[in-house]
């Protein structure tokens, strides 16, 4: 069981909820039965509520090792309760037990499970599950894996990472919210995005200004042609984005600022 998470929940849950959760945790640890784990996991919203939690600065910093970027998303009581229960599973069998749960989970359960994988002691064992999760078309589930979650950056290999990033672009997700997006840029990904930009251009369809972030630092001749064309014909925001790539030394806004502007425009 993850001690930091356990401690945090004990401090934030009301007494009745705490008692319920402690009872379930003790039962899991004394006599582990998949069935009782599934029932407890399912019942978390009923007994722990679904309210978002607010943490102190000190609490958040206590979590930076266990879960980098924890403070970037909202966490609810049922979500953290479910994750804590998952961390209480024996690691010898947790892949199998959780696979069954993933296979029957509802929308909210899926989000909790994917957000929580990083907390598991054998987190690397869940790479195939994460890749399966990324095949979803449910935006909330995709976001739970791809956005702000430290799991992909740490555990996905380059091909899996690139697939995730590309799919995020297709789903019009806010790219700047992918954790460590900058560190894991690579030449192959830049190439894929150039192909994508060309395909969109042939279809007279726009590309997100955030796309050029992935070309930044990988400016080949082919890239330069695409960038210059966009500088001539793009929207004002696209032009600012490609200028940033073409003149890296000039003063410009950060990619995150551009990303936020794209997001605001999409939501508008």
């Amino acid at each position: 069981m993850n001690p930091t998470l356990h401690h945090l929940l004990q401090k934030h849950l009301p007494p009745k909820a705490n008692t319920w959760l402690e009872g379930k945790l003790t039962a899991l640890q004394t006599d582990f039965q998949p069935r009782s784990f599934y029932l407890a996991f399912g019942a978390c919203p009923r007994f722990l509520g679904k309210d978002p939690l607010t943490f102190t600065e000190a609490e958040l910093s206590s979590l930076t090792v266990a879960y980098p970027n924890f403070s970037a998303t909202e966490w609810t009581t049922d979500q953290l309760g479910r994750i804590l229960l998952a961390t209480a599973l024996p690691t010898e069998t947790n892949v199998e037990v959780l696979d069954t749960l993933f296979g029957t989970a509802d929308y909210r359960e899926l989000i909790a499970l994917y957000k929580g994988l990083y907390f598991l002691d054998n987190a690397p064992d869940f790479v195939p599950r994460t890749r399966e999760g990324l095949r979803t078309n449910m935006t909330g589930v995709f976001d739970a894996i791809a956005l702000e979650n430290p799991y992909p950056a740490r555990y996905l290999d380059e091909d899996a990472w690139n697939h995730m990033v590309l799919k995020a672009m297709f789903m019009q997700r806010p790219m700047y919210r992918i954790y460590r997006i900058e560190d894991r840029k690579n030449a192959k990904l830049a190439d894929i995005f150039l192909d994508y930009a060309e395909e969109r251009r042939s279809a007279y369809r726009p590309v997100s200004p955030e796309l050029w972030r992935f070309i930044d630092g990988f400016v080949t001749d082919r890239a330069r042609t695409a960038l210059e064309k966009t500088r001539e014909t793009g929207t004002p925001l696209e032009r600012r984005a490609v200028e940033k790539v073409l003149a890296p030394d000039a003063e410009a806004v950060s990619w995150n600022v551009i990303g936020r502007e794209v997001e605001t425009a999409l939501a508008g």
Binding site: Y38, D106, Y107, N137, M138, Q172, E263, L266
Partner: protein
């Protein structure tokens, strides 16, 4: 007006239907677990279907601003495949407690066989154990006897009729179902069930108490706008707006919110339906309807 369609099988419907329902005022719907027009032969097919009801379909619906709920159950037709039925019964407790599951259903009789009876009773017990409402599917053939028998069995198990919805009622069965205290639901499904002119006559006869109107739209020739269309006809034929609201919204809400899983706040102040999710690219609204003008232009599509 706002409507609830408390019986509609959206897995068989298109996004056009969702759009039309939202435009017509449907704010919430309930999708009962049923059969798919062709019998399933593997328990895995049930598992994936149940997962669709609590996951994908719920999400798909939310993209159109309609709140999606469902019921869980083994339908009577497929209860006749006993080895399969046993496996499905093991699966049910796992799904019956999921978020948005408002009842056990639709269960009851088809041929009124022994196997149907066995799993009907087991599922009544499951509903009692989980304190969930029950949705009863009454049979097409031998309807009157099948309906009465369903109520007899429910009463034998000690069910509270105010927690049971008897669906697909007609002129022949309505009186008895109402008298015995059940929620009495009518399916407006032109052809095999009830037309909406008949429904107006029934309303005039019985009034609005404990009466529920639904579409049961599915993979057959049916109409996902049955509920709003019936409401319109009722108003046109002089039934009061308050009474129309009862049978097309309030009664269904009162019956199914007894599950604790359905709350008006979900659609009245729905913070979870965020625009970002509504118009995401690679999901249901594929190229993003919001930018359709742009896309039309660019693709030179002529309409």
């Amino acid at each position: 007006m706002q409507f609830i369609d408390p019986h509609v099988h959206m897995v068989s419907r298109t996004t056009d239907d969702y759009e039309a329902m939202a435009a017509a005022g449907v704010v919430a719907l309930i999708e009962p677990a049923f059969w798919l027009g062709q019998p399933r032969t593997e328990v895995g097919s049930f598992k994936d279907y149940f997962s669709t009801l609590v996951g994908w379909e719920r999400f798909r619906s939310s993209q159109f601003g309609i709140r999606h709920y469902c019921t869980m159950g083994l339908n009577s037709k497929e209860a006749n495949n006993e080895p399969l039925a046993e496996a499905v019964m093991e699966l049910l407790p796992l799904y019956a407690t999921k978020e948005g599951v408002v009842a056990i259903g639709e269960i009851g009789y088809d041929d009124q066989s022994a196997a149907e009876d066995k799993y009907f009773r087991q599922q009544i017990e499951l509903a009692l154990e989980l304190d969930l409402p029950i949705l009863i599917h009454t049979p097409h053939r031998d309807k009157k006897n099948g309906t009465y028998r369903s109520m007899d069995v429910l009463e034998e198990h000690g069910c509270d009729p105010t927690k049971v919805i008897i669906d697909h009622c007609n002129e022949e069965t309505a009186r008895e179902v109402l008298d015995r205290g059940y929620w009495t639901a009518f399916t407006i499904y032109p052809g095999t069930k009830m037309g909406n002119a008949r429904m107006v006559d029934l309303m005039k006869q019985y009034g609005p108490e404990r009466i529920i109107v639904d579409s049961s739209a599915d993979w057959g020739i049916s109409d996902p706008l049955s509920v709003p269309k019936t409401a319109a006809l009722m108003l046109q034929r002089g039934i009061s707006e308050a009474d129309v609201r009862k049978v097309t919204y309030q009664n269904a809400y009162d019956a199914y919110s007894q599950s604790g899983q359905m709350d008006e706040a979900h659609w009245q102040d729905a913070p979870e339906v965020d625009q970002n999710q509504l118009f995401s690219g690679n999901s249901v609204l594929r190229a993003g309807r919001r930018t359709s003008e742009q896309v039309e232009d660019a693709d030179n599509i002529v309409y």
